[in-house]
Symmetry: C2
Subunit: 235 residues, 2 copies
DNA sequence: CGAGGCTGGTATCGTTGATACATGGGTGTG
DNA sequence: CACACCCATGTATCAACGATACCAGCCTCG
């Protein structure tokens, strides 16, 4: 009962804070404002969330949840690159639709600190990129490709948020997305138009290396990984 | 005397606030902190800057000034695309070196609002892109290209700021930069590997259209501009 | 049935952004 | 030369903020 009550209170506080954030931005989320909106006492916030930052983290996760669920439960498309495209579009779409949440998540990076929601999103992106790598169509390392995609997508989203809707370039997101994908993805395993074949295969091999658990010892795999990284990074 | 005094006081306040910002982040810039550091009274801040946001804007401009000066006074390279590269690197370099200033400038976009410093930076970028367009090497419209470059550069910078220095991908910036440039720039006026030739020429023509002031009437130029946009956007 | 700890509410602390009010020095006029 | 006016500066203070100490009630367990 106590636990249930607590989690219900927590839910009510987060929902109230999320409402204030969406409506009035970061500065509207104050201890007084939240306690009034959620019909709780100011100290309750600190008991449940530790401090203001804890509440904000929870709010971001809350607002991001629906988006994450959609991303996670989406069935894989035939082409893993299309999955990546859909992931990009979903990301940008969420940011534009929920600018205050987005600015809170990605607008104030603190070196080495990442909100739980951002971590989950990053993991999903890594997963999508890994599927492309396993198909042998990634021209650079998984981590690097994911960071390039995330950086560009994040920048596009913030730019769109900062532009009045009527002034937005409707193709900015798509163009930038394709620019990054073109640099990161090759036509096919054999088509070596972009990316050296050795790099492509090294990346692909690394992505599926975990399947070789019973073939190589941990030490061997570690060394092999280093070599593959060196090959793929050489391009 | 009074004016001089005032501007000197203003300078001292901004410098003190900039020091606090660089050292302790946004939250370190409080009216008390600034007045103590600058040896002025709290109300002086409001008399000079209107409110806290006014002070922060001034601080951002102040911190951005050295960077802007460098960018403006740099001699043009032989290849306008290289100018663009240098501009990108300077932008990212500034952000990584001054993360708190950068987050204040680009991390909290408000639709339709842009700080003076950001406006100046955007103008410089437009200028650089226009030079590329005049050389007939731009595959998309000037505004779109500038927005793509700015978005990606902004995202990369924020990503780097959020990553501990030892974990940063040293090539993230360069790779992303080249990915965007490859999508936006063609090899040469005739090399149509990327971008339809018609689009390339339409963009180049639009960039130099102001030179045709005495050849076309304002109305004619307006209509022609619309057509050129349609052609270049069609790709 | 009583003691102990946990939950929740009240009151309050120090600090923040912002402002009203008084004070003092410089200017212009008689 | 003296007086009055005016503007810039300094003092004191306000409401709201994040955060916390403290007390009262409840449930649990002995």
């Amino acid at each position: 009962m106590g636990v249930d009550d607590r989690s219900a209170t927590r839910e009510r506080i987060v929902a109230a804070a999320a409402g204030l954030l969406a409506e009035g931005g970061r500065e509207a989320v104050s201890t007084r404002g939240v306690s009034n909106a959620a019909h709780v006492q100011p100290p309750a916030i600190y008991r449940i969330f530790g401090d203001m930052q804890g509440l904000l983290d929870a709010v971001v996760s809350y607002g991001f949840q629906a988006y994450l669920d959609k991303k996670i439960n989406r069935p894989h498309a035939a082409d893993p690159v299309d999955d990546l495209r859909e992931g990009w579009d979903a990301h940008v779409g969420f940011g534009v639709a929920n600018p205050e949440f987005y600015k809170l998540m990605y607008g104030q990076p603190v070196s080495g600190t990442e909100s739980e929601a951002a971590k989950k999103a990053a993991e999903i992106l890594i997963g999508l990129v890994e599927r492309v790598a396993k198909a042998g169509r990634l021209a650079v390392g998984v981590e690097r490709a994911a960071q390039m995609i995330h950086s560009a997508g994040c920048g596009v989203t913030l730019t769109l948020i900062g532009t009045p809707p009527e002034s937005r370039d409707p193709e900015l997101s798509e163009r930038t997305r394709e620019a990054i994908l073109a640099a990161v993805i090759t036509e096919g395993p054999r088509a070596s138009g972009a990316g050296r074949p050795s790099a492509v295969h090294a990346v692909a091999l690394k992505a599926v290396l975990s399947e070789a658990e019973d073939t190589l010892s941990p030490g061997e795999r570690h060394l092999l990984t280093e070599w593959l990284d060196r090959i793929s990074h050489s391009w």
